[in-house]
């Protein structure tokens, strides 16, 4: 099944007198990897919250594969095949790494509601969970509680959870934030692999990562789209340089 494209039309989000997202239009063709970049406070994470349903839009529409998802709850959007990772690691503290993935798999299979201890269901998920963990190189930490993981490995678990849902649209919120060089390379390889057959939208600050992965880049500043295009053309756009370095930068 072909992944859907993502379209955003005139999206606005207001916060008590502050307009965080100011009429953003985006078109992300199916199966592409699209990077969202911009200086701090540009509205990237707010945009992500809007796309994943954590914030209601003040105006505008969001369409996934032609289907209007504006105003849907996060869990409804998730069930449509849109998975998202978080910028601030949101994991379930004492629960073990493999149990996290098992839960995600169970959720996807729709058995999350089973009250009674269904050991059979859980063990069948375990082997698939281990495969998913192997994809992010976490198979050796399967039994570790999530809050004992080093930061870089937590982000990897985040990614594993998003993958376990087998989404058609993947929203990655700063997947390499806070990582060391080795972790970053690993993550870049992983994203390059898993993007096949999916539409990926990625917020990133690390321009090397964007250069390696993105098909197209959208630059946001002050809640508006400043520029859009391939990485190289966007990078040399004078408006973009100004936005990052501040107007009046002499060189």
């Amino acid at each position: 099944m072909a992944p859907p494209g993502l379209t955003v039309r005139g999206l606005v989000r207001d916060f008590r007198g502050f307009r965080a997202v100011d009429g953003v239009d985006l078109h992300i063709p199916a199966g592409t990897l699209h990077a969202l970049v911009g200086p701090n406070g540009a509205g990237k994470t707010t945009l992500f919250h809007l796309l994943s349903g954590f914030l209601p839009a003040s105006a505008g529409r969001i369409l996934v594969g032609g289907r209007d998802i504006t105003g849907l709850r996060p869990d409804q959007i998730a069930r449509l095949g849109v998975a998202r990772s978080f910028q601030i690691t949101n994991l379930f503290g004492p629960v073990s790494v493999v149990d996290h993935v098992v839960l995600a798999l169970a959720a996807r299979a729709g058995v999350g509601w089973r009250f009674w201890r269904s050991t059979a269901a859980l063990t069948s998920f375990r082997s698939r969970a281990m495969e998913t963990l192997a994809a992010v190189d976490l198979q050796d930490h399967a039994g570790t509680p999530a809050d004992s993981l080093p930061y870089g490995r937590k982000r990897a678990l985040e990614l594993a959870l998003a993958l376990a849902l087998d989404p058609v649209v993947l929203l990655l919120d700063e997947p390499t934030a806070g990582m060391g060089a080795e972790d970053i390379d690993r993550t870049v390889d992983l994203i390059a692999r898993v993007r096949e057959g999916r539409t990926v939208v990625m917020v990133e600050h690390n321009m090397n990562v964007v250069a390696k992965l993105a098909d197209r880049v959208t630059v946001l500043a002050s809640g508006r789209v400043l520029a859009e295009g391939g990485y190289r053309e966007v990078r040399s756009d004078p408006r973009v340089v100004d936005a990052y370095l501040g107007a009046g930068h002499g060189h």
């Binding site: 916060f15 008590r16 502050f18 965080a20 701090n40 406070g41 509205g43 990237k44 994470t45 707010t46 919250h49 994943s52 349903g53 954590f54 914030l55 709850r73 996060p74 869990d75 409804q76 998730a78 069930r79 998975a83 998202r84 978080f86 910028q87 601030i88 690691t89 949101n90 994991l91 379930f92 503290g93 004492p94 629960v95 149990d99 098992v102 839960l103 995600a104 169970a106 959720a107 996807r108 058995v111 999350g112 509601w113 089973r114 009250f115 009674w116 201890r117 269904s118 269901a121 859980l122 809050d147 959870l161 849902l165 934030a177 806070g178």
Partner: protein, 378 residues
Amino acid sequence: MKRWWRRLTPVAVAVLAAIIPYSTVRIPGAFPDPLNAPGTLQILALCLVFAGIAMSYDLLFGRTGLLSFGHALYVGIGAYGATLMVNQWHLPLWTSAVIVIAVSAVVSLLLGSVALRTTGVAFAMVTLAFAEVGSILVARDPGGVTGGEEGLALDGSRLPAALVGVTNTANLYWLALGFAVVAIVVVHRIDASPYGRVLTGLRDDERRVAVLGFSPFRVKLVTLVLSGALAGAGGVVYALVVGGASPRATASDLTLSLLVMVVLGGAGTRWGPVLGAVAYTYLNQRLTGVGGLRAVDSLPAVLRNPLSQPQFVIGAVFILAVFFAPKGLSGLRWPDLKRRGRARATAVHVEKDQAGRDGERSSVLAAAGDSTSDVSTL
């Protein structure tokens, strides 16, 4: 080796508990009479009823992170419902029990749908409001039905003969034990199921659970219904053990006691709520006698008066327990006592405060209502 030992111990304890009514052992200081005396069995039965009700409360509080101040409402529905149905409408006991449990479930469904529109402190207040309505309704005694301040005595002639009379206290004890076992088994099975994992997830991070495709509202509502139904069943057994229903079953005091029991024993732990409930109920029942002890009488008035109040002693015990054993009685290990409770679970919050990069993050959290910071800091 260790695993089957752990599995066997609770069964062994349950078996021991079951044979207590046959034992003439005396435990001096703990109980004034031998174990199989009606007085002792009554106290133990009450401990067991509250163990079960505390487990139902912990399903909400410890396992899902929902601080409810209205749990007493369902115990009251159970106690008053069963008493009324048996006394006034002449229904057989078991039918009344089934109806009452169904009513508790429906009421918690309705109230939950309203209360769950809020989170954290607001949720606690809404649940408190509903419980107070129930409490006032009972005290007002509409149509003379609820017996007002004095409550209602269960009409013994309409109960199965095996449950009536002092000589049958052992049967009531076994009934309470049965209820406690059922409540414990239900909650433990939920713990081990996928649904139980979702609950743990909800307690730690609601947004994460939503992203997996679960509606936090629906999951919480189902939990409320389950715990309300269990508490309703507990109310029925409570009425049988105590001999009727009284406003004490619906008072917010009861919910507060449940909260103390659960925190004392260790919220969210396997056996914590049971330990806390047994300890609290036992102390509550037995400490009323402390005031009459000669040792206490000889103390100066400033010490004697507070010590004669069971609630004071319990409160002091609670404070000491929370200080020395913040994870509750069930989390007690010797090194912890020395470390004086510095181990608090704040890791999640430290991480959340760490990343302050994007300027809009704080406004997003403010707008979205940071629902994760409600209970875990208790």
